[in-house]
Symmetry: D2
Subunit: 422 residues, 4 copies
Amino acid sequence: MAEWKVDKEKVFKDPVHDYIYVTDGLIWDLINTRAFQRLRRIRQLGTSFLTYHGAEHSRFTHSLGTYETMRKVLSHFEKNHGWPQDLRTKRLALCAALLHDIGHGPFSHTIEQVFKTHHETWTQRILVEDPDILAVLTEHVDAEFAQDVADVIAKKKHPLVVNLISSQLDVDRMDYLLRDAVHTGVTYGTFELERLIRIMKPDQDGVVVKKKGMHTVEQYILARYFMYSQVYLHPVTIGSDVLLRRIFSRAKKLHDRGDQLFMPEELRPFFENRAENVSVKEYLEVDESVVMYTLERWTSTEDAILRDLADRFVNRRLFGAVQSKELKEVEREQIREMFRSNGLNPDYYLEFHKAVAGGYQLYSQGIKLVDDEGRKTDISQDSGLVRSLQPETKYRIYCPKEVLRGEGRYKPIRGWMEAFKI
Amino acid sequence: MAEWKVDKEKVFKDPVHDYIYVTDGLIWDLINTRAFQRLRRIRQLGTSFLTYHGAEHSRFTHSLGTYETMRKVLSHFEKNHGWPQDLRTKRLALCAALLHDIGHGPFSHTIEQVFKTHHETWTQRILVEDPDILAVLTEHVDAEFAQDVADVIAKKKHPLVVNLISSQLDVDRMDYLLRDAVHTGVTYGTFELERLIRIMKPDQDGVVVKKKGMHTVEQYILARYFMYSQVYLHPVTIGSDVLLRRIFSRAKKLHDRGDQLFMPEELRPFFENRAENVSVKEYLEVDESVVMYTLERWTSTEDAILRDLADRFVNRRLFGAVQSKELKEVEREQIREMFRSNGLNPDYYLEFHKAVAGGYQLYSQGIKLVDDEGRKTDISQDSGLVRSLQPETKYRIYCPKEVLRGEGRYKPIRGWMEAFKI
Amino acid sequence: MAEWKVDKEKVFKDPVHDYIYVTDGLIWDLINTRAFQRLRRIRQLGTSFLTYHGAEHSRFTHSLGTYETMRKVLSHFEKNHGWPQDLRTKRLALCAALLHDIGHGPFSHTIEQVFKTHHETWTQRILVEDPDILAVLTEHVDAEFAQDVADVIAKKKHPLVVNLISSQLDVDRMDYLLRDAVHTGVTYGTFELERLIRIMKPDQDGVVVKKKGMHTVEQYILARYFMYSQVYLHPVTIGSDVLLRRIFSRAKKLHDRGDQLFMPEELRPFFENRAENVSVKEYLEVDESVVMYTLERWTSTEDAILRDLADRFVNRRLFGAVQSKELKEVEREQIREMFRSNGLNPDYYLEFHKAVAGGYQLYSQGIKLVDDEGRKTDISQDSGLVRSLQPETKYRIYCPKEVLRGEGRYKPIRGWMEAFKI
Amino acid sequence: MAEWKVDKEKVFKDPVHDYIYVTDGLIWDLINTRAFQRLRRIRQLGTSFLTYHGAEHSRFTHSLGTYETMRKVLSHFEKNHGWPQDLRTKRLALCAALLHDIGHGPFSHTIEQVFKTHHETWTQRILVEDPDILAVLTEHVDAEFAQDVADVIAKKKHPLVVNLISSQLDVDRMDYLLRDAVHTGVTYGTFELERLIRIMKPDQDGVVVKKKGMHTVEQYILARYFMYSQVYLHPVTIGSDVLLRRIFSRAKKLHDRGDQLFMPEELRPFFENRAENVSVKEYLEVDESVVMYTLERWTSTEDAILRDLADRFVNRRLFGAVQSKELKEVEREQIREMFRSNGLNPDYYLEFHKAVAGGYQLYSQGIKLVDDEGRKTDISQDSGLVRSLQPETKYRIYCPKEVLRGEGRYKPIRGWMEAFKI
């Protein structure tokens, strides 16, 4: 069970961390599993590349970066705060960081809604069911280790490790904010990682932050705030998600009613089973290649709606949006009716969308400051800046751009919609 | 035929150029064609992402960046050297830059060798045969424009524009060196783009460079030298290419002899026709999703060789390499025989590879310096540094790593190969 | 009076803007005046280099950078908003940007308090009284031009130009935030200059900002907030300022009472006259070399207090600080008395300091957002983030560190001070 | 004599290394000595700020950076190669890195030629003669330590440590190349510090470099080559140096013949004694404030030549240069005579300058590559690129720009000089 050192330290050249260091053979072997390599075929930001063309990076790179960030945090904690004291806990933290996204599927934030599946659940299942992963974890550590990592992902054990993986101030976010900023070309996500790590301390309740470093935490929180408003919740990206979800809803409907439809073996289980009946092996066979290939085939399928929607996504003729006030159900129904009476099925060509960004729940609770005397406060008590980050709710109506422009037969719809705009 | 200005200048946020500016509706409409959007689904560096995990960017981003670099060069030339004088020439240069890679297919540097096809030829065909592209070029400019752009790609007309697109010092290389450096995380590709553009001048024979800026050109040439040796010709990347080529050779063999084999409609024309009989429409339907999906299907195909090779590629169990001296055919045959007698088909599991990097032909000819009196010299005359960049030839033997390690039944092969190593 | 183009565009390589471009001979000639070159001998951030060792850059570099930022803004305004329409206004803006700090003296924010002088006043006087500057402005433009630039500095004329030079969103701050961030190594000052400029618009009341760019302005305002709290108001820097001010107070006292004291010719006018009686010629002879040399000489002067204080500054044995609550005058007097009774003159070795950072007046008023319909609002109405930036007041007691540590004879003072700490 | 850990690790924010870490009280106390703080008042690049306005950084920042680079190298060596084995050697290396420039005076590369003094000699003297430095070294380590550090500077002991401080591949150069690149804004100096350190190995003969990292060393060597040609040997900087040297030659002549002349106490010893008779205490009192203040006073001195030269330096009216062929003494004398007969003293207004950049001796010897079998070769054997870096000799004539332009009475000189130009 001793730590197996790889012959020589391995490094990965990385756009964010410069180098990612691997000295433990356990990590090296995990990276080389099929399940982990599969993350190369799943984009980190789903459909965001349709908004920011640089956002083409995969979950593989982010997973390595999350591991590296954890490695840096642990190295700081070990040197300055004597934690973790044992190798097993350290490896638990490193493995959880490396594997935290292993259950993600292609465009998962979007598609999961259609198939009622959750990547966190899949991550836990893969850890204990995938034979390769299980073997590596068992051989390098012990027979309970895989379950322990799964329990960390499930937030059931080792609260301090859980805190480092999944909290307001976790290594996952630290890496993705910096990484997404580099790839989108947006500088908003910048914060001082090194300094942030230096002010963090392990504590019985989780990670705390030295009070005198409050401004560094504020900078990190603001990086999140700006990345959410400028990148993650960009209206064009939301529009792409809406479109993708509509495509799969339509395909599911066609499939359910027995229409002829290109359906790759890999996707079939999702269309035919409840998620819990899909096996880990089946799950791991799905990646963006499968999905993209399927979408491309559907651009020439028989059903007019599916064909059109797929073509819009593949060739980037995305839905547009107008901001609206909050609409009552009766108003929504009026708009739907307008769509219907002009030949557009509102189930596929219309979405009333509500986006909530940057609120209190998201940002302020959970980051504890600690002063020199050991007194702890929530950062929202000390920082007006953090308190000011109230949730911003935006209502938008998504539909094809030609409708928004009132082209041809859509003129009447456009007129109607004017009434509901802000 | 007048320049149509988009309502407001459009910008793309970019990791390399910060912003990419589009003010001409012609460019905007080209970007929105299906053929151009398809470049999002083709990685710029083919299999390099298996070596440098950050190298996941697409030809779409590079094409935008090449356009932007051309825009900067033209802006400098117009202001300081009064060229181009007419809008049509300017648009010719911008369109050629934007579209220069539109004929690339997935992993094209690798797969083209199997199917005997050439992306330059496809670029020219697409320009004049794809109905969308043709329509945009014709409507915004005139009926001869598409052919003119194709002629620039074919290096037949407008030598100065050709020079800017395709020469020792062209906007294509300028963008890809900087972009690939950002995404791989390697800093070798850095040079001072702004300063390089400032010292360039249009001339009757093509672009020339002010002599006093020689060191800036040296820096650019060295960026190329380092990127070739560290990234483009990285042994792991070459090994991935060898593997991919083997996969398609094997599949072609199986297909030719009529074996049962998963074969998506999109790839069928390439397996069944000579490249020149494939239509532009068919060609544009192939992207990396198709290829990757196919490879994934082949990981469970019947044929043991194809199944194994595909699995190696998809799950990154790549071929390894040893450096060797230059081998005579008789020596090669001895090694092949060793493979055969140990149960490995050398047609698929062995490659004698010769890589040539950074030589004189590549680097020194064609960049003309001009002094204050207008005298021109080739940079290799003035710069010892450039002269020193002689071609470096490396011979390597590629085969499965277990063979190189002499595992199990491969022990005898390993012993034999020792004899041929440097 | 025509714009004189320099032979070829001149460029300065710059750590912030990459290149600074000069195409107007007027600007070139101004840069070469003695008064402008003198700015090389005055640090941009005064005593901050004692806190952040990288903060050694001069007002010369910042002045060039302010000019370059103005040039970028005007270039954007000309292209997109047709302003300024005439060359004279454009040059007015460029000259005001270049020369806005020309009246600064060494450590001026600190020393001005002792000598009751104001750099803004000196800037205006220099513009119309320095024969070189006056000659350049008059020859390149006209006889009224110098006064016009001075009036812009005095905020008397050309409100839009004034707005660009000196407002909540001016080119001065844009440059110094970015520049100070680079040199201190602190990343807090980062914001997207290019994007910020793109959303600015000239308007009859001054500059306005497109509402959809609100988050970009927030980012800029937060850059200021963080730079103030982390750099400009750093407790160590304030302590250095306190020390420097004490030195000059002491020297003035000694000089006034006729003590023997090293006094360079250049400083004599300030010790003997009221500021308004100092001539521009005399003023321009003072720079940091004079002040630093004088301080070094005072490290071996006869007066024990001045000698000690000067030595502390030159050899960086700075005052320390403790945070305190707000003290009543009677409490302050008690502390002063403790100092006196322990042999320390509180006039020189003690300061009750109040620092106010980041408040409403500073940040939120004056930046107007404008929506697509032309409606204007103050950003504080739309942004909770901006509203949250309330002034933060901190009270600190500054004195020698040995006192704070309660070393030797200072033990009783330390004890006493404990009572007043927060 | 045990390593005294500072209470908590101290950090300095740095533009190059992000953070500089100090954990040893020895280092902390050295930084706080007067002799070390004095380095804040000496610019790293002497007169280069007159060419690149950003080059205003001090030897203080570079000394910290050299220490930090050494710390990184030692940390890598300790972890991977088990060297240094004892704390004393480690501290020897760290102290030598931190203090290697402590003997530098203001503009020392220039002024030393006038006063026949050498900063290396001064560094050694200061280490053993300055009471503060000596006390810190003795108290933290032992009585022989100061002399040992001095011996390392003198290259007499500990060849491996000497190698790290002063060789073709030393921590001094690594830091200054990167630092000067940041401050000048020139990107040429970039190389991959982290990777360079990773391929270095301690060896009995000194530091060696793993052969497979050859391209990384090439990149470093080229960074030097470009920084020399573009920054360190920039013609404008050389011209500033010539001018400064002329000023001190003239002042020395005036002083020697007993002319009345402003002469600060601090400089007097250098004008009146041979360098070896100047005490360490006297030496340390000289900094750039003294020199700059003196130059400013000399701008209004009685002697016309000194007054003019000083004014040229202070107000940046520098000498210009023309390239020439190599001139024979008889030709030089003809030019000198022309100067004399036109009223210009060639001893002060004319320099025949020879600059040698980037040659073989500088670059190729001394960096040893080592292959996997332990065979060592000089990098020049393996790298054609390194071999190509031949010395480039340039001859230039420096004199006032008005002479070069042939203004007024200088027309005949200009005519004459034409004959000697290349």
